[in-house]
Amino acid sequence: MSKLKVGIITFLGTNCEQDTKRACEFFGWDTEFIWQNDKIEKKYDLIFIPGGFSYGDHISSGRIAKLSPAVKSLPIGKTLIVGICNGFQILCEAKLLPGALTDNQNIKFISKVSELNFYDVTLNSSPPLVSELGRGLQGRVSLMRP
């Protein structure tokens, strides 16, 4: 498989960008950061929105980040976009994923192992790319097709 070109969006308050970069480089992917105020004009195979507390979680987690030039210029439908933790919150706030996050129903912090399911999306590179992403998760990944 050819070397993937990866972009990692960072915001004020992002704190997992180095971890994400390190993980990508472990697989030999060509990785660079994308600053929140920069429009995405380069072509990437994969874009990560990593974890942290973008804009201090002010107003609500991901609420302000969704308005940033980087998020507004995401190449939707053309590139695989992965939101991790706060990145996932940003994708929900930006309506790029359905639904919204609420508080835990039992007023308690929940820490459990969860199964991660990848839904096959209609991107040209999708099956090999998804397999690459799942490679490190061994046994906790199921590839689901609609």
Binding site: I59, S60, L67, G99, A100, T102, D103, Q105, I107
Partner: protein, 86 residues
Amino acid sequence: MKNFYTKIIVNIKPTIKDIKGLTLKQAISNLVTVKDLKCSVGSFYALNFTAEDETEARNIVEKIAQEILSNEVIETYEIMLEEQKE
């Protein structure tokens, strides 16, 4: 141009469990006995700005409330808008 002052209150929709409200209720119950206590926790925002008229002002505030201050999937908002006379 006219000066406007607005208060925006954002609350969780009634169909969604208000966890912060329940947490507050629990905390109050640990402090003092209050009969039939119900709690709701929301957010309050206040803005000052200028606009041509009330229509423009209201459009601006609605956009801010919808796009930034609330998430329509789980939250509602109320706007109180008034012109500030010199």
